[in-house]
Assembly symmetry: C2
Homo-oligomer: 243 residues x 2
């Protein structure tokens, strides 16, 4: 499994994904699930992926190929598309066409290779936008009412986001929130695993402002995780049980 989350905040966007992939419990590996596409200062697009690795890798490869094609146009390359909405449409269509080709071969009627993606980006002159692409290629968008999107094993880490994340949350608090959300998920589900990829896109920067890989055994992450456990236990002891 995977857990990946994106926050759309007033100050910018915060993105975090794990790297564990498994095809059966004896075939567990690490794969990057965060992909950056940039024309610095003009546009930035970050894609997080969850689900069938063969589908997500093929989708990313096709998007990359289309970008590198010398005859790339606004209809084929996500770095030339006229809007982020169009980018989301192109990614959704690519994802679906990859799955459809396998489905035809396997006669699996749409059930092959479930995969979903979070697409976050901004182009110069536009606003920041973040989309969740469903396995069928359709998508929804993060809004002020729903300033975060999650894919993969998302339930364990949702309560803390529900309580903390608002559009006015700072980028620093946003990073803390996604890391603690991931921490809860790592504790509750073995199939989500380190290392983690964290990226920040500041508003109007039109580039990835900050990126960090957090390795297994990272001292800072462990300290944060332990501090959060201690804070939860301390908070818990202060709660008065209903009479």
């Amino acid at each position: 499994m995977t857990y990946a989350v994106g926050l759309l905040l007033n100050e910018g966007m915060v993105l975090l994904s794990d790297t564990r992939t498994n095809a059966g419990i004896d075939h567990i590996s690490s794969y990057r699930k965060m992909f950056r596409f940039e024309v610095p200062d003009e546009r930035v697009i970050v894609i997080l992926t969850a689900g069938s690795l063969s589908v997500t890798q093929a989708t990313i490869a096709r998007l990359q190929e289309a970008i590198e094609d010398p005859e790339a146009t606004a209809d084929t390359s996500i770095l030339l598309a006229p809007s982020l909405l169009k980018v989301a449409e192109m990614i959704g269509a690519t994802l679906w066409s990859v799955r459809e080709a396998m489905d035809r071969r396997l006669h699996t009627n749409g059930s092959f290779g479930q995969a979903s993606m979070i697409v976050a980006g901004q182009r110069r002159g536009g606003v920041m936008r973040m989309f969740l692409i469903y396995p069928e290629g359709n998508f929804i968008e993060a809004t002020e009412d729903t300033p975060f999107l999650q894919i993969g094993e998302h339930k364990y880490g949702k309560p803390i986001l529900d309580r903390i994340v608002r559009p006015e949350t700072s980028l620093a608090d946003g990073q803390k929130a996604v890391l603690l959300s991931m921490d809860s998920t790592l504790r509750s589900n073995l199939s989500v695993g380190m290392p983690l990829d964290l990226a920040i896109i500041e508003r109007d920067a039109c580039r990835v402002s900050h990126v960090r890989r957090i390795e297994a055994g990272d001292d800072d992450f462990r300290a944060m995780s332990e501090a959060w456990s201690a804070a939860l236990r301390e908070g818990f002891t202060k709660i008065v049980l209903l009479p």
Copy 2:
């Protein structure tokens, strides 16, 4: 949906379930999902249910009918069965036979009416035991390593249990933990809803020691929920973001 949870602690067992049931979003009702069977001081059995209401109601009705049958034996009545293990087997077999009858009628091959149950109990002279009965009628048991069992919409409320619940946790802390676990679930999933049913079975009491229904708008529960939110936010502000 449903969320129900049971803790098997050294001091006793703590059980909590919600009451919301839906058959389509315009047909939402409250149904009790906690059922008590007692021969006070001799044996106590509490069953929590999740899943298809027609299946769980029919299963409970059959168990009740078998208890009331004047010719009830140790093989038919869960109040006469020689062990809690046997009780779990009888409940699992009843659940499966209810589903199987509907499956035959509908030709649905085992997919009709998914339902699961938590069975907690003790009989005089035996130890406390707690089982999770799967839709197929097989089951697992809570142990020292895994002192809690959950059914239904269980993921949102798992992180706090993972962090807090140990066999040596007190009954008071156990109650706080399940109520806060339920609170996280209520906030994240609309299909789980108040009122709640809480029951405590103290060790060796062989009866339900304490039972409480927590209605929507219960002031004590709301105060507890708000105190927990405040504690989480306060704890969150103290966490130092990794550099």
